[in-house]
């Protein structure tokens, strides 16, 4: 039995169904991210676990106990909010101690626990400051300490980094993950930032229109997306449309050029319109010195080759993203920046190569 179980949970506001029959089992100590666009139901699902929303149907269990109808203050679930939600009238130490005082813990226990939490978040010197005297990153760390001080069974984080600037976001997400590993606390993390979800999670739950589209480890979600939505939402994806030439061997005609999809087209027949997808790092530009981060280094002779024209070159620092026009299709590819090699110019002829195994044939394509 999993530590946290969400069984057939559904939520509707009047006629508007925002979460549809979500099933999820989370193990003790696991870090799970809910990833999806705005309005996909990820925050509502989190709020149902916290007790701020009552499910229209279904049950939620923590450690075997049904908490579906318990009030939020009876659940022992810690939550960190996007807007920090620190109490403005209390100092940092008072904020961290709040939950312990409410639980009527003895003063001899509260003081050391607050010190311990402030040391964990590396802010013991700010104990006497008020929230308005702290930066956004410091406020969010205090919010994290406050949520953890009560030793919750489950930690919920609702887009905790989205109000912070990029550098703080990266450092804080590493801190959160390392703290979560250290404490071994079961955590649900809501985000619409795929990079956050991919870098922090043991598993990712990709949600779309109130449904769970796919649950899996970050590597699996990225490399083996089950649906077109997952593939397009997580990472960049180029879609190549064409006509099936040989379904069994996976031969496809893309604008008069033949390519092979390694997995074939089991549900199609010759002459059917079809589309395949490719990650930018799976393709390489022939003759260009930069090295692509291909996921499948197939033999040179086995690689698909498509002729096209350079449409756009974007320098992103360590990576150069190149868009190549292939008839009606545009294919994006990433190549590592090599200071000794000049990037190709717009309008130049180019040959793109990629492994048949890297082509994704998606459900609903």
């Amino acid at each position: 039995m999993a530590f946290l179980e969400i069984n057939q949970v559904r939520k509707a506001f009047n006629q508007n169904v925002v979460v549809q029959n979500v099933d999820l089992a989370i193990e003790r100590g696991e870090f799970v991210s809910f990833l999806g666009p705005s309005g996909c139901g990820k925050t509502t699902t989190l709020r149902m676990v916290a007790g701020f929303e009552l499910p229209t149907a279904g049950t939620i269990r923590i450690d075997g106990k049904d908490i579906t109808h318990l009030r939020p203050n009876q659940r022992n679930v810690g939550m960190v909010f996007q807007s920090y939600a620190l109490f403005p009238n209390m100092t940092v130490a008072e904020n961290v101690a709040f939950g312990l005082k409410v639980a009527k813990r003895p003063a001899a226990e509260i003081g050391p626990r607050v010190d311990e939490m402030l040391n964990i978040i590396k802010l013991p010197h700010l104990a006497g400051r008020y929230p308005y005297q702290l930066s956004g990153g410091q406020q969010q760390r205090v919010a994290l300490a406050r949520a953890l001080a009560i030793k919750p069974q489950v930690l919920l984080l609702d887009e905790p980094l989205s109000a912070l600037d990029a550098k703080i976001r990266v450092s804080l997400r590493e801190e959160i993950r390392s703290l979560q590993r250290k404490l071994g606390i079961t955590t649900i993390y809501v985000t619409h930032d795929q990079e956050e979800a991919l870098s922090m999670s043991d598993r990712i739950v990709v949600m779309n229109e109130g449904r769970v589209d796919q649950v899996g480890a970050p590597f699996e979600i990225y490399n083996q997306p089950k649906t077109r939505f997952v593939a397009s939402f997580v990472g960049t994806l180029s879609v190549l449309s064409g006509t099936v030439v040989d379904a069994a061997s996976g031969v496809l005609d893309v604008g008069g050029q033949k390519i092979v999809a390694g997995r074939g087209f089991p549900n199609a027949k010759a002459g059917d319109a079809c589309a395949v997808s490719l990650r930018p790092e799976a393709a390489r530009l022939e003759g260009f010195g930069g090295q692509g981060a291909t996921t499948n280094m197939a033999d040179h002779a086995e690689r698909n080759r498509l002729q096209g024209t350079i449409e756009e070159v974007a320098f992103l620092g360590s990576v150069i993203r190149i868009k190549v026009r292939l008839g009606d299709n545009i294919l994006s590819l990433d190549t590592f920046n090599n200071p000794g090699v000049t990037p190709p110019e717009r309008g130049a002829k180019a040959t793109v190569t990629f492994s048949p195994a890297d082509l994704l044939v998606l459900e609903g394509v």
């Binding site: 007790g51 203050n73 679930v77 810690g78 939600a85 109490f87 009238n89 709040f98 406050r146």
Partner: protein, 261 residues
Amino acid sequence: MKQSRLGSWIALIIGTLYFVVPLAGTFEFSLRMRSGEYSFDAYRSVFSDSAFQDSFVFSTLMALATIVIGVLLVVPTAYWVQLRLRKLRPLIEFVTLLPLVIPAIVIVFGYLRLYNSSSFLPMTSEIWSTNLLLAFSYVTLALPYMYRAVDTGLRAIDVRTLTEAAENLGAGWATILFRVILPNVRTAILSGAFLTFAIVIGEFTMASLLNRPAFGPYLQLVGANRAYEPSALAVMAFVLTWACMGLINVFGRAKQIKHAP
């Protein structure tokens, strides 16, 4: 540019004269009780009058009672409207504005008709119950100011998230209200309280028709029978009101400093 600055100065001078001249005139007149020289005799006369002391103490106590009842009525209501009943906000705002458009005399006649000694709830038959009725009527009169002040304070904080954060940490409703919400709208409540105090201390209609010995009816009585004392009382009333406004400003500024980014 110069023309607009000149216009501003003219407007400022006219405005200042409009407010200051009558007040200065009243103050100057209040000092003329002793013939041929300026003195504070009128003020001495007022302070030595036991009716002044009694009525002022009575009105002060009524103002305090009004503030307590008003806070207990308005804070939970405004909090709940902000948290759960946002759709009702226009209706609640309309109701709280009614005392501004319904004259006090209409309200008090309604009270007298409803709560007279032969009614089902004879609140005017005893002094203590009449005082209670007067306090309730003052709560009604001050409702637009108290509600607006508290509502503005609540809008300045994220009531919903703070409530959820406290609830998530195990707090019940009383803890949330008294330890999280109230301290964060304290300045707003104080603003409402000072406005209520200023209104109640000089209120005439309700106290007079309910026949209670308040400061407003005393002012009217002195004004009808004396020459210099009413001017002294008018100046004192102004000073008291301004002191209340000054305190609102002081607390408002303290809040701005505390919530500075």
